[in-house]
Amino acid sequence: MSVHRTLVVTARVLRQLRTDHRTIALMLLVPVVLMGLLAWIYNGTPVFDHIGPALLGVFPFVVMFIVTSVATLRERTSGTLERLMTTPMAKTDLMIGYALAFGLMAVLQAVVASAFAIYVCGLDLAGPVWVLVVVAVADAVLGTALGLLASGFARTEFQAVQFMPAFVLPQFLLCGLLVARDQLPQVLQPFSDALPLSYAVDAMNEVAAAADPLGQVGPDLVVIAAWIVASLLLGSLTLRRRTA
C-alpha cells in the first residue's frame, strides 16, 4: 500500500470527473430537486419534517452507489484495470483512491442537499445542522463503498445499474422509513438490524428529534463506518491480478 499512489488515483478520478460536467450536475442537483419536490408535495403538513431528514440520508446514498459502481466497472472493462495490475499498485491503493475521490464529491453533495433542505425548504431540525451534514456525508461514503463492492460482481454496465435495486431497495424497505423498525415482522427485524441504511435513517431521525443527539448518533455512525471499511476490504478482494 502506498499513500502516494492512492492520492495519484484520487487525483486522476477527480480529473476525469472534471471533464464530465453533466455527471457533476446530476450528482449535485438530483438530491436538491428531490428534496424540493418532497417539500412541495407535503406542503402544509408535518410529513416533510418527519421524513425529510431520513431521505436526506437516503438520496446521497443511492446517487453515490450508482455513480461509483458504474465508474469502477468502466475501469474493469476498458482494460486500464488489467494494465494497472501489471504495475506496482496495490489493490487497496485503487479502492481507497476511488473512495477518497467519490467521498469528496459526497461531501459536496451532502452539504448542498442539506443546505437546500434547511434554508430553502424550511426543514425543521431539533439537533445541530453540522451533525446532519456529518451523517449525510457518512451515508454518501457508505453508498460509495457499497457501489465499489457491487461493481466487483457486475460484468457489464447493464448489470451494474441493475445492482442498484438489488442492493439498495431491500435496505430502503427495511430501514424504518415505511414501517417503523420495531413494527416490522419478527423475521425481518434481524435483517433490518444488520443492514447499514437502517442506521443511516436512525441517525437522521435522531438529529431531527433531539437537541443534543450525539449520544445516539455516535453508535449509528460506528456501524456505518464498520460497513464502509468491510465493503472496501471485500471490494478489494474482488479485484484479481490474474484472471482466466
Binding site: H4, R5, V8, V9, R12, R15, Q16, T19, D20, S78, G79, T80, E82, R83, L84, M85, T86, T87, P88, M89, R241, R242, T243, A244
Partner: protein
C-alpha cells in the same frame, strides 16, 4: 542454445492455459532472448495474447512455469521492470494524452520529464493536450504505448501495437522498437501482419497454441524454401494441418 539467441528475457516451460473451458496453450515451451525484437506471429485465436498475458502475470495458468528476467512471471519485483500494452488501447478517454501518460508514470514512480519523453517518442507532442477520446484509433494506441514507456522497462510486451497505423507511422514505431532494443530493452511484439516479420530479429509462429517456428527470418526462409515470411508460414501451417489429418 538456438542460433541468434543470447541470455533469456522470458523462459516458458511446459505452459498450459485453459480459458473458458478451451485449451488455448496445451503445452508450450519457448525462450525469448534478451535485448532483441522478437516477433510473436500467427493467426488470430492462436494464443498470442494468452501467452503475453501469462508473461506479464495477469493470466491464470493451469500448469507449467513462466520465468521473466529471472523471476516467476507476475512477481511483485517485476511490476516496475516489465511494460505491457494491451491490444485495445487501455487508457482513459476522458483524460488528455498528457494526463494519461503522467498518471501511468506516477503509478510506476517515473517523473514528469519521462512522461514528456514518452509522448515525444510516439510522436504525439502536438496532441498532448487533447482528450484521448477525441483521437483516432492509431493515436489512442500510441498513447497506450507511451504510457508503458515511461519507466524504461527492461522487457516490453506489446500486443499488436501497429494495428490500424499508416505505413509511415508503422515504420517509425518499428524504428523506435529497434532503438529500444539497441539500448538493451527486450521486446516481445505480436502481430498478425506477416510482412512485419521482416522487422523482427527473431520470429515465433504460434498457431492453435503450438509453436511452428522459433528462429530468425533468414533461417526460416532457408528451412522452408519460401521467398517471404507469409509463404513460409503458410507452408508450415499446411504441413501442420496435413500432419494433424494423417
Amino acid at each position: 542454445m538456438a542460433p541468434g539467441a543470447t541470455a533469456a528475457a522470458v523462459e516458458v516451460d511446459h505452459l498450459r492455459v485453459v480459458r473458458g473451458g478451451r485449451v488455448v496453450l496445451p503445452d508450450l515451451s519457448v525462450t525469448v532472448p534478451a535485448g532483441q525484437v522478437v516477433g510473436l506471429l500467427g493467426p488470430s485465436g492462436g494464443g498470442k495474447t494468452t501467452l503475453m498475458r501469462a508473461v506479464v502475470g495477469v493470466q491464470v495458468v493451469e500448469s507449467g512455469t513462466v520465468t521473466v528476467l529471472g523471476e516467476p512471471a507476475g512477481s511483485p519485483g517485476l511490476r516496475s521492470r516489465v511494460g505491457y500494452v494491451t491490444q485495445a488501447p487501455s487508457i482513459y478517454d476522458d483524460l488528455t494524452v498528457r494526463e494519461n501518460v503522467r498518471f501511468f508514470a506516477r503509478m510506476v514512480g517515473a517523473d514528469t520529464a519521462s512522461a514528456e519523453e514518452a509522448i515525444a517518442a510516439v510522436d504525439l507532442e502536438s496532441h498532448a493536450g487533447v482528450l484521448a477520446g477525441r483521437l483516432s484509433g492509431g493515436q489512442r494506441s500510441r498513447v497506450s504505448l507511451a504510457s508503458a514507456l515511461v519507466n524504461h522497462p527492461e522487457l516490453l510486451v506489446l500486443d499488436e501495437p501497429t494495428v490500424g497505423l499508416d505505413p509511415v507511422l508503422r515504420r517509425d514505431l518499428w524504428r523506435l522498437f529497434h532503438q529500444l532494443a539497441a539500448a538493451g530493452t527486450s521486446m516481445l511484439v505480436s502481430s498478425h501482419v506477416m510482412d512485419e516479420a521482416a522487422r523482427c530479429e527473431r520470429l515465433l509462429l504460434l498457431r492453435e497454441g503450438r509453436l511452428l517456428a522459433d528462429e530468425p527470418l533468414p533461417a526460416l526462409l532457408e528451412r522452408t524454401g519460401a521467398v517471404d515470411a507469409e509463404t513460409a508460414f503458410l507452408s508450415l501451417i499446411d504441413a501442420a494441418e496435413k500432419e494433424a489429418a494423417s
